[in-house]
């Protein structure tokens, strides 16, 4: 599903430049649930941004679903993001003046789906994350776990090929974290490819494969025995 070949990225900091990614090679198959670990500054967020086409690599190939991602202008990147990728952020990033339902249907709006259909799909996904009754509530009326579940529903709504989660449990307590991970595992079991960036080992263990980054290179890449989040509850 995802192929990275010799990926480099550096940031200019005034006169010096900071080499963040120093040749990343990674293959992720369809249906995998991969945790990307590393301490802060290891380059994991940069990697995720490149995967999410929110940023571009300086060198190397990025192949997504046998599509080579290159020469992206903003418009193209926006279209690819909309079509291929779903994002889950640490701080949820819901639009605060829109209800849960409107937030979930927003990516569908950018796909040009009609209003009625959009709402139908959004209700379906809210039901799947168990928040159908909360559809008309604003984000400010939801708890952290609920907000993240709305964000997951939103990421799923556009039927992306890959879900990218950036510290999805970073702002949540342990119990809610488990709920959210449980949801992510369930989505993965339905066949969706998911990448989770985290620095918590416990969260990483709930994935099927752990990739460890340090100073811009992959230092460890191993399949692990998945811990079911539901067993914690």
């Amino acid at each position: 599903m995802i192929k990275l070949k010799n990926l480099h990225k550096s940031y200019k900091m005034g006169s010096s430049s900071l080499h963040v990614l120093k040749g990343i090679n990674l293959n992720i198959e369809d249906g995998e649930l991969v945790a990307i670990m590393g301490s802060s500054g290891s380059g994991k967020s940069t990697l995720l941004n490149i995967l999410g086409m929110l940023d571009t690599a300086d060198k190397g190939d990025y192949i997504l679903d046998s599509f080579k991602i290159e020469n992206l202008n903003e418009t193209k990147a926006a279209k690819y993001r909309n079509k291929f990728l779903g994002f889950i952020f640490q701080s949820f990033n819901l639009i605060n003046y829109k209800t849960a339902l409107e937030n979930v249907s927003l990516p569908l709006y950018y796909q040009g789906i009609s209003r009625k259909e959009r709402q139908q799909i959004a209700v379906d996904y809210l039901e799947r994350v168990g928040l159908k009754e909360w559809a008309t509530h604003l984000p400010s009326e939801l708890s952290g776990g609920q907000k993240q579940r709305v964000a997951i529903a939103r990421a799923m709504a556009s039927k992306p090929k890959v879900l990218l989660a950036d510290e999805p449990t970073g702002a949540l307590d342990t119990k809610t974290s488990c709920d959210v991970m449980d949801l992510i595992q369930k989505i993965n079991e339905e066949g969706k490819t998911i990448l989770v960036v985290t620095h918590e080992l416990e969260i990483a263990k709930m994935c099927k494969r752990i990739v460890k980054l340090k100073d811009g290179v992959i230092v460890e890449d191993s399949k692990v025995k998945q811990v079911k989040a539901s067993s914690y509850v």
Binding site: N49, G52, L54, D55, E74, T75, A78, K79, R81, N82, K83, F87, F89, Q90, S91, N93, L94, I95, Y97, K98, E102, L106, P107, Y109, Y110, Q111, S114, R115, R154, S158
Partner: protein, 409 residues
């Protein structure tokens, strides 16, 4: 542009961000409102100003007799110059190219009586052309006509105030009033923009006046109007021509400034018009200043609005909004708000102006108004600049990478 879905999205955004909408809308409304009020008041000032000079026709020339101050051609100084009927005829013959209307004016005061009501009014012996020279507005009946002049009939056209004083609510037309020792038939009632005093005059045929005064042929003043299309230069030419002609005819020394006088309204008007131009400049300057202030106001609001929405726009971009759709959304929203609120400011401003009317008369502001085209142009200018002011920050926001926009503060 007419994507119904996008409009729905915009209306939702507007409806859910009332403060923001109010702020940007209010700026525009206020800008247009103040512009219209100031511009209107300026125009009101101009109205008052012009009214002082509206009493007489703007293309009139007055000839007054005087006394010579220099001896000339064997005549002594201090000789009284008089105008006579043949002077009228000569003007008609020699200056027909310039002439529009020509009339003498013989002013006398006379005790005027109707039944047991009486008062002193000034009567003016005039020709039919006087109506146009003085801009007399007939309310009822008719003015002095040519057959009155040739038949020397005893008819009078009385002012509105005269009719009010003497006749109260009685019908005046067809009744006889006593002017001095003769009875005159009232054939018309007039009003005049010059005010009440002008409406206390009585007009009679100048030939009748001459008949009463022992059949002489003297006239006090000669008033004429020239063809407007001759313009200022034509007026000056006519004035000089008249001066030269009458100095010759009346044997007045070319160096003598007295003898007789010519008052050219065009000359007066030129000065007033220069003042009016200055007024107009001030009004325009104030209007322009208000508009610029309005534009700066909207620009500020737009920068603020886009800044506030940076994160939201980042989220939208992460979810697949193209830079173009982001710009369009921001712009369409701002243009929509500017149009609606600009229109509201326009209507409100015009309504206030309409209501002022003559209430500010004592501050020399009369009937303030604004040409609807000026108001519309101002509104359009504000909308266009509002759009430009919105476009720049929107463009910048749309090119910010979503990761930067989404970074946690």
């Amino acid at each position: 542009m007419f994507n119904r879905d996008r409009w729905t999205e915009i209306f939702e955004t507007i409806g859910k961000n009332k403060l923001r909408t109010f702020l940007s809308g209010f700026t525009v409304s206020l800008g247009i409102f103040i512009f219209i009020i100031l511009f209107g008041l300026g125009n009101g000032l101009k109205n008052t100003f012009q009214e002082f000079f509206l009493d007489d026709a703007s293309n009139a020339i007055f000839l007054y007799p005087g006394k010579t101050s220099k001896p000339y051609k064997g005549f002594k100084a201090n000789r009284r110059i008089e105008f006579r009927n043949d002077d009228l005829r000569d003007i008609k013959e020699n200056f027909s190219f310039y002439l529009e209307h020509l009339t003498p004016r013989i002013t006398r005061n006379a005790l005027t009586r109707y039944k047991n009501q009486s008062n002193n009014y000034s009567t003016r012996g005039v020709a039919p052309g006087h109506q146009f020279v003085e801009k007399t507005i007939l309310m009822k009946g008719r003015y002095i006509n040519q057959s009155d002049i040739s038949r020397k009939t005893k008819v009078a056209v009385i002012g509105r105030m005269v009719a009010k004083d003497l006749f109260k609510s009685e019908e005046a037309i067809g009744k006889y009033i006593n002017l001095g020792s003769s009875a005159f038939k009232v054939v018309g009632i007039f009003q005049d923009e010059g005010g009440d005093n002008e409406e206390r005059n009585i007009y009679i045929p100048f030939t009748t006046r001459q008949l009463i005064e022992k059949s002489n042929d003297k006239v006090d003043q000669i008033i004429l109007t020239y063809r407007k299309e001759l313009g200022y230069l034509g007026a000056m030419g006519l004035e000089n021509g008249l001066k030269k002609y009458f100095k010759e005819k009346k044997s007045v020394s070319p160096e003598d400034p007295n003898g007789f006088y010519i008052r050219n309204i065009a000359d007066d008007l030129r000065e007033t018009q220069q003042f009016a131009v200055v007024l107009q400049l001030i009004v325009s300057f104030v209007g322009l200043g208000t508009l610029i202030a309005g534009i700066i106001g909207i620009s500020n609001i737009m920068v603020f609005v886009v800044k506030e929405r940076t994160k939201e726009l980042g989220i939208r971009k992460a979810l697949g909004a193209t830079p173009n759709s982001v710009i369009k959304m921001v712009l369409q929203e701002s243009v929509f708000i500017t149009i609606i609120s600009g229109y509201l400011g326009l209507i409100f401003g015009v309504l206030v102006l309409e209501n002022i009317g003559v209430k500010l008369d004592k501050y020399f502001i009369k009937n303030p108004f604004i040409e609807i085209s000026t108001a519309l142009i101002a509104t359009v200018v504000l909308i266009v600049f509002g759009a430009i002011a919105g476009y720049i920050p929107a463009k910048r926001a749309s090119s910010i990478k979503p990761i930067i926009a989404l970074r946690d503060e």
